[in-house]
Amino acid sequence: MNHSKRKSFGMSLFILFILIPIYWLLNMSFKHNEEILGGLSLWPQDFTFDNYITIFTDPSWYMGYVNSMTYVAMNMVITLLVALPAAYAFSRYKFVGDKHLFFWLLSNRMAPPAVFLLPFFQLYSSVGLFDTHIAVALAHCLFSVPLAVWILEGFMSGVPREIDETAYIDGYSFPRFFIRIFIPMISSGIGVTAFFSFMFSWVELLLARTLTSVEAKPIAAIMTRTVTASGIDWGVLAAAGVLTIIPGVLVVYFVRNHVAKGFALGRV
């Protein structure tokens, strides 16, 4: 018993370590700037929603969330559409150059976004996509697609080949088999892949900021606006930060039972 008590004590400590910084942000988002700068208080003395009201009534603020959501959703859809057939090919067939292609894909996941910054900027400007949602989505695909292929390949390899063969004998065509039988079988893998595309695209700032200026500006870039000549508007900054955490928490709630397996890229 003593052993398990020690365990839960250690676990609580770690959870506390994770939650306290977040609590501090939450705490600050409900305070006025005078209270924030006036002195330290563990909870808001003068509870206020003003910071949130500022964000929800100003289109230049809340459009940032809309922009971010738009390109994240685009990125998820594109990633899944192209990664599903590719992962199936990698998990089922041997073909010329398969291993090298796989490694090449992965090497893109590992390349620092900073390396691609400059050419992306030039590339998307030259094809007229600069400052559009699709440009950011495509740029993020470079990183999310390889990871998606890797995860899905892990999940698909866990499905026995016999299922494919039985379906063909039963007269299913490939597309019908793929959509009606195969995809439902790896639905948790697809959920996890979507989660990872979401995660990557949602947290990324460097590319999203460089490829946009006004129309598609992500919330993360707008947050730098709170730094003005008269100092930083801490309350609004904290409120904006809290609002960026919420979608992530919602998403993780839906895939909570598959997260761990997904992080192991389906390879447990």
Partner: protein, 90 residues
């Protein structure tokens, strides 16, 4: 395409790489190769050896550029020999 700022040198560099890849693919389809163990510590296929050769060549060139004033044709010649050895015996 002007924003890509092509130069004759880089254009021929990429053409050579593309040509090597095309040859390797063609060769692979005609004569599929199997993994084998050479002087490298791990068993490799032809494509693995090409990749190892190209990557190590890049590092050799960087070393020469960074730490000596010698002409780049010296590492280039070295690397071609190294690449061929690697493909044959690696």
């Amino acid at each position: 395409m002007s924003w890509m700022a092509w130069t004759p040198v880089t254009a021929s560099f990429f053409s050579i790489i593309a040509a090597i890849l095309a040859c390797m693919t063609f060769y692979e389809i005609k004569v599929p190769c199997t993994e084998r163990k050479g002087f490298l510590p791990i068993p490799t296929t032809r494509g693995d050896r090409l990749f190892i050769g190209l990557l190590s060549s890049a590092y050799v060139h960087l070393l020469f550029v960074g730490f000596s004033e010698a002409s780049l044709f010296i590492p280039l010649a070295l690397c071609v020999v190294w690449l061929l050895c690697l493909l044959r015996w690696g």
